[in-house]
């Protein structure tokens, strides 16, 4: 495996870790999750807090790991080539579709029942941030 491929694999796994930790951190803050945690399941709150720490630490590590100045020119070029650019665009496009789908779903649900605004926004935020990460990681893994 070339150095570039190792960096690409590392990037994929970091994105998956970041996506998971962000999702757990934010979704643990949903009212339904808080109610569950308050009902003798305090480990949920701890899990959320731990996931938040992993998110912050992971984000810092990710940022500094792939800081442009640290990469040699060949790795830099290969890690940001045309295929990566297309995968990035595709992942944002899929994320947009997911967000639209969720928004329409919440819109329709709001016509039938009372929706918690905080939870609704939290789910949308999580989907918007996590979907491109997972999608990009998946696309980068295809044909590897």
């Amino acid at each position: 495996m070339t150095n570039t491929e190792k960096l690409s694999v590392r990037r994929r796994w970091l994105l998956i870790l970041l996506g998971l930790s962000f999702a757990i951190w934010t979704l643990a803050d949903l009212e339904v999750a808080e109610a569950y945690a308050a009902d003798g399941h305090g480990w949920m709150a701890l899990l959320g807090a731990a996931a938040g720490l992993v998110w912050v630490a992971g984000l810092l590590f990710f940022t500094f790991s792939f800081a442009r100045s640290k990469l040699d020119p060949a790795s830099k070029a290969a890690l940001e080539d045309e295929l990566v650019e297309q995968n990035r665009k595709t992942s944002f496009s899929i994320a947009y579709s997911v967000l639209i789908l969720l928004t329409v779903t919440f819109f329709l649900l709001s016509r039938m029942t009372e929706l918690n605004a905080k939870d609704t926004v939290t789910v949308l935020l999580t989907a918007g941030i996590v979907t491109p990460m997972f999608t990009f990681a998946w696309l980068e893994g295809k044909g590897a």
Binding site: T2, S8, E82, L83, V84, G143, A144
Partner: protein
């Protein structure tokens, strides 16, 4: 699934004739080995610039590497 159903590629043939691995060719044109692999499999359509770089690296024309399916 191919990125474009009308595009045929002979990149692999020319690359092998030049005695290059996918990694060698990738390094010559500053892309990843996976990019070369996906182009050879018809999964990814390169930009004009990359197609020209590939042709130059392999000492042939772009039309030798890529063509429209009949």
């Amino acid at each position: 699934m191919p990125d474009h159903p009308d595009l045929a590629t002979s990149l692999k043939d020319y690359r092998q004739a030049a005695g290059l691995t996918q990694a060698d060719l990738a390094a010559k044109v500053s892309v990843s080995r996976k990019t070369i692999n996906t182009i050879e499999n018809g999964v990814f359509v390169p930009t004009t610039v990359l197609a020209l770089k590939l042709a130059r690296a392999l000492g042939c024309r772009v039309e030798d590497l890529f063509s429209l399916r009949d």
